[in-house]
Symmetry: C2
Subunit: 319 residues, 2 copies
């Protein structure tokens, strides 16, 4: 057991200019788990209603995910509906039916406390805090605690969110969330404001542009996205990014060695790769078929897409 | 003599949330020349009015730019005014006073025909075509013809613009211009539509995200921008990008060797570097002081910001 994720398990209805999916498997914990389980075992902390389809549970089990903390509660599963604009970059929420997710009380079994990585996905900061506390009980604490959030919590529960930010090692946020939290247009100034709270690193998700990694020590790294001809459905790409990022790091931690800056840089690339797979179909349609060979293929292509000669004065070939 | 540029020479009034500059030296040919002249000699084809300040002419001469084709016409210099929003990404045009630029008839002396690089900046496509024809007279034709344009010409003179696109080797456009020309939200599909017209390469400027290079042969390369804490004024960054890109290539061509894909990749990085300098002050305030050592410093930092291990399975150190 290596990664604990807490987040939503949902049924999504997504409408794009080019297609639709209704009541399809979704939610941050699902996208995360599907991506991260390519690398390591995932313990899912979440809740579904009694209406949650058996084949969706079966799919999660097929990922070798530990579902002991996925509660099945009386009531309906969290449902979200959204419609994308023609450019696929902006979307409107059509409906949000919290169902059993509205009363969700996460419970992390003691044996998950030995997980090396804990990811508190986009839920109320108070619940994120409880999950972190539950995994910190006892002698064994996670070696890497990571957090995601969303504009709603930045607006409505800023103080509680700040408390959680102080307690994690790694923060994964979308670019606009970084600016929103810090209240400044300069991304680097905003990033430093978050890093000054305590996290060692901040990964900034920039959608089709890729991602940045900023360190409390001043470190900076930029990884462009894997280019796609067509984006079928970007829903869950940020969660799949987190899954690739933390899945890769969890695998590295299993080797027993401490994580290096290079591990984090590679992890950022793995995050982008998983984000790209998420965009290629509705729900986890493409993600569920991803193999390590698919990952390797995109990884090597990204090496070619981004590396340039360090010697530009005489046309050296050492890059 | 190695680069011919045709474009605007202007006096800009720029207002940002953090400062202002009035009647300051600007225009696409000016930003291009200031950046490109770090690498190679530039022949400026343009027009100014009799009111153009002597110290601005003196500055251009100090760049070792050939001003024989910079006409001084009776009337006023082209003036543009713009105001940036808080995020510095969007701006509104406050005024456009074409002045002598409205009747501009570019004239390229025969001796400029031996220039290796011709850049037709953002002017009416008919004038771009005339400049290209003037540089193609005789036996010697430029080894690299490059083009920029803007949304106005895509909207109002699409057919003429298409004619010019058919005649150049390299196109430099902003992301939204690529989509606008092709009429499709998929950037890669849009890029192919432009490359299918004949250009071998398309450089796509993505502002603070950096730039992409796409080839007619399917080649793909992504270069993130050089990160800045604060953007003082992004006016002219795209033209400085073009200056760095083509300036570097022109310098490479002087060596007598044919340009390789690696040269173009390095050129994209140089474009981003010059774009970053342009943003650090109003007008050419920072660009004018850039040395080759400044360029080298940002280039090596970008190597560190973007290169990652090609071997991720065992933590190899070969990247």
């Amino acid at each position: 057991m290596s990664i604990v994720v807490v987040g939503s398990v949902a049924l999504d209805s997504v409408y794009t200019p080019f297609g639709r999916a209704e009541d399809a498997l979704g939610g941050s914990a699902v996208y995360f788990t599907t991506a991260a389980s390519v690398y390591d075992r995932v313990n899912v902390v979440g809740v579904v209603g009694e209406d949650f389809p058996e084949d969706c549970l079966g799919f999660l089990r097929s990922r070798d995910a530990d579902l002991r903390s996925l509660q099945v509660a009386p009531g309906k599963t969290f449902r979200w509906g959204g419609r994308y604009a023609l450019d696929m970059n902006s979307r409107e929420t059509l409906f949000t039916e919290l169902g059993v997710f509205g009363e969700f009380q996460p419970s992390v079994p003691a044996e998950f406390g030995c997980s090396e990585v804990v990811f508190v996905g986009n839920i109320h900061p108070q619940l994120q805090l409880e999950v972190l506390q539950q995994t910190e009980d006892g002698d064994q604490t996670p070696r890497l605690r990571a957090l995601d959030t969303m504009n709603l919590w930045i607006e409505t529960t800023r103080d509680e969110l700040t408390e959680v930010l102080r307690r994690v090692d790694l923060v994964l946020l979308a670019e606009e969330e970084v600016r929103q939290y810090a209240g400044t247009p300069s991304l680097r100034v905003a990033a430093r404001q978050i890093l000054d709270l305590g996290p060692k690193r901040l990964a900034i998700k920039q959608g089709s542009y890729g991602a940045l990694l900023l360190g409390a020590d001043g470190g900076y790294f930029a990884a462009p996205s894997f280019p796609l001809d067509d984006v079928v459905d970007p829903t869950g790409a940020g969660d799949a990014f987190a899954g690739g990022f933390l899945g890769y790091l969890s695998g590295r931690l299993r080797s027993g060695e401490a994580l290096t800056e290079r591990d984090y840089q590679r992890a950022l690339v793995h995050g982008n790769i998983m984000g790209s797979f998420a965009c290629e179909d509705f729900s986890v349609g493409r993600l569920r078929t991803v193999t390590m060979e698919d990952v390797e293929d995109r990884y090597q292509k990204l090496v070619g897409f981004t590396h340039f000669d360090s010697d530009w004065r005489d046309g050296g070939e050492d890059g």
